[in-house]
């Protein structure tokens, strides 16, 4: 990897002693000896194991939950159902005052996705927990389910989540987070070409090699320790204290080492219930997702559907861009309403376009809730944007890289969300790539600068 110091040389400082040096990582020596302590490496005597009884249906009413046979199973220490959870219905975004509480820790009236937790079994062995789980009887009445984001928004679609009352998250701007600049219709009028395209993605899993989980241990002084790979110690702590309805000072979270996370370990879905199990039993409890759970139960990167409509002039200016984006949040919000909002702020991409209209919807369907993942709100948008850019260039017979230079944002340009561009460097990245990869472009583009004001 080469650092090309000729770019922005006057803005760089090279007089630093530690910064810019490839110091060895402090943790690698532990990694290669296998002594880095991950949460599941804590050896705690008397550890109990938690397993979930999960919904076998995508959408169903719960008629009856019978745990009596499971309770009698030897080795079972505690069965936990919704009523045992002090603050059962929560939303993680409540910590930043965002949206209604919409998700139960344990389902009680309805299940809204295949795999939703209904009953937690705490037993003295994994096997014992599995055996007891098989003895739990839950009667369901299946309900029609909806899996497609646009179907979910049609009149008459099954209502996924009653806490929202409709199958989308309601922003203060309405059904979608909106960004508007200029007048797109006027822009389309001015355009020589219009291109409207649809882009889709399927859910993607973080797939960290270490599955999500935690170990909760009752401590002295009426406190609880939780060994966790959470990406956000205090986010998880605050969240657990809300769900358990106990003051935060009773909780002591110890983490800081994750066997991969990629955004999937922000959710805090395991810590509250495991802490509760430790409180209810007075014993240390481990809840470790199986690989199946990691694949299908832990949040995914949301599937998205994105429509982009562009107005283009013959000389390569994008004069209007209209985007409708649907983020498939699954049955609950988790962090998706925030992600959809981030997407809205990201469009129309790193390009200066005078007329922009963005609508990003966070849509509820009967699938595994989605949440943050590396590139949250951006990755799929960039896929759509950059394929669209390629198509636009080809419409007018222009080189796709040169086309990007024409439209690339520069310092001082007004963005759609009304911030002036600062610190732009897209042009320089493209210049270096062009030269290095031998992708020829006209010399005028090699002379451009992100710091040069647009004419």
């Amino acid at each position: 990897m080469e650092i090309r110091k000729s770019y922005f040389a006057d803005e760089r400082h090279d007089d630093l002693k530690e910064i810019g040096q490839s110091r060895q990582r402090s943790d690698t020596a532990g990694h290669v000896r296998g002594i880095t302590p991950f949460y599941a490496d804590r050896r705690i005597p008397g550890l109990l194991h938690l397993r979930m009884v999960r919904s076998p249906h995508h959408h169903a009413r719960i008629l009856r939950i019978d745990t009596s046979a499971a309770e009698r199973h030897p080795g079972v220490k505690r069965i936990i159902v919704a009523k045992d959870v002090p603050h059962n219905v929560y939303t993680m975004l409540s910590l930043i005052n965002f949206g209604p509480e919409d998700e139960p820790v344990l389902a009680f009236d309805k299940v809204r996705w295949l795999g939703e937790p209904v009953v937690a079994i705490v037993a003295d062995s994994e096997r014992g927990a599995y055996e007891a789980a098989a003895l739990v009887r839950v009667d369901y009445e299946e309900l029609p389910a909806v899996f497609d984001v646009e179907d979910a928004l049609k009149p008459g679609a099954p209502l996924v989540n009653e806490y929202h009352g409709q199958n989308y998250f309601r922003y203060d701007s309405g059904a979608s987070r909106k960004v508007k600049l200029g007048d797109v219709e006027a822009g389309f009028q001015r355009a020589d070409y219009i291109l409207e395209q649809r882009y889709d993605s399927s859910p993607i899993e973080h797939a960290p090699t270490e599955t999500t989980g935690c170990i909760a241990v009752p401590d002295q002084n009426n406190r609880l320790i939780c060994y966790t790979p959470t990406q956000a110690i205090f986010f998880t702590l605050d969240h657990a204290s809300i769900i358990l309805d106990i003051p935060g000072q009773r909780l002591h979270l110890i983490g800081g080492t994750a066997g991969g996370a990629f955004g999937g370990k922000v959710d805090s879905t395991v810590e509250p219930i495991t802490l509760l199990a430790a409180m209810l039993t007075g014993r240390p409890v481990a809840f470790i997702y199986s690989r199946y759970e990691e694949m299908q139960i832990s949040s995914a990167r949301a599937a998205e559907r994105i429509y982009i409509k562009d107005g283009l002039t013959k000389d390569g200016q994008i004069v209007a861009r209209q985007v409708r984006c649907y983020m498939d949040s699954g049955a609950y919000s988790r962090l998706s309403p925030y992600g959809a909002q981030k997407t809205a702020g990201h469009f129309p991409g790193p390009y200066t376009i005078p007329n922009v209209e963005i609508d990003c919807y966070c849509v509820y369907t009967n699938r595994t809730p989605s949440s943050s993942m590396r590139g949250f709100g951006i990755t799929i948008a960039d896929f759509a944007l950059e394929v669209q850019m390629d198509k636009l260039a080809r419409i007018i017979g222009m080189d796709p890289l040169e086309f990007r230079f024409i439209n690339a944002y520069r310092d001082g340009d007004m963005k759609a969300h009304r911030q002036l561009t600062e610190g732009a460097a897209l042009i320089e990245c493209m210049q270096e790539t062009s030269v290095w990869a031998n992708w020829p472009i006209e010399s005028r583009f090699l002379k451009m600068s992100s710091r040069q004001k647009r004419a």
Partner: protein, 166 residues
């Protein structure tokens, strides 16, 4: 609970223990021996984080029963640097910045050791095959492949090491 005796050599040490019958080698190593270096990444035999050597062959400890390892010889990375000095493979991973979260690292190292024990001069395809059962989600594999190839002394393997300079 039925306890059964098992005896084997773990990283050069004779071990005799009573275990629950049907115990996996992974559970045995982690819970009985206290060797936490093999990791439980999937318990399905699909990720390689629990890779150890049994009688010199790479095995997935999560789907191997300890009763099938009686009188066997088990090697984990806890034994690689037992004398306090890093094994050349460990040093190579360190030098190549070939670990990030570190969770796959123990299994990767044992898979690589199995390869080099059997074939001291592997080519790139050999290394790819050797690591093909080990999932890494952080590094993109390339630094690990190069680290393993760097341990081999053969010139041929150095030539094939680079699919490209990073």
């Amino acid at each position: 609970m039925k306890k059964v005796p098992v005896q084997m050599t773990v990283n050069g040490e004779e071990r005799a223990e009573f275990v629950d019958s049907g115990t996996t080698l992974l559970k045995f190593l982690r819970d009985k021996i206290g060797d936490l270096t093999p990791k439980a990444g999937c318990l399905q035999g699909t990720c390689g984080t629990c890779t150890v050597l049994v009688d010199g062959e790479p095995r997935l400890a999560c789907i191997t029963l300890v009763e099938d390892c009686r009188d066997g010889t088990i090697e984990t990375i806890a034994g690689l640097s037992a004398d306090g000095k890093l094994h050349p493979l460990q040093q190579a991973l360190l030098d190549h910045f070939a670990a990030q979260c570190g969770f796959c690292t123990p299994g990767m190292l044992m898979a690589a050791k199995a390869l080099l024990d059997a074939n001291p001069h592997p080519d790139r395809a050999d290394v790819e095959d050797a690591l093909s059962g080990n999932i890494c989600r952080c590094t993109g594999y390339e630094p690990i492949i190069r680290a393993v190839l760097s341990v081999s002394s053969s010139d041929a393997c150095r030539d094939t090491a680079e699919r490209g300079a990073v």
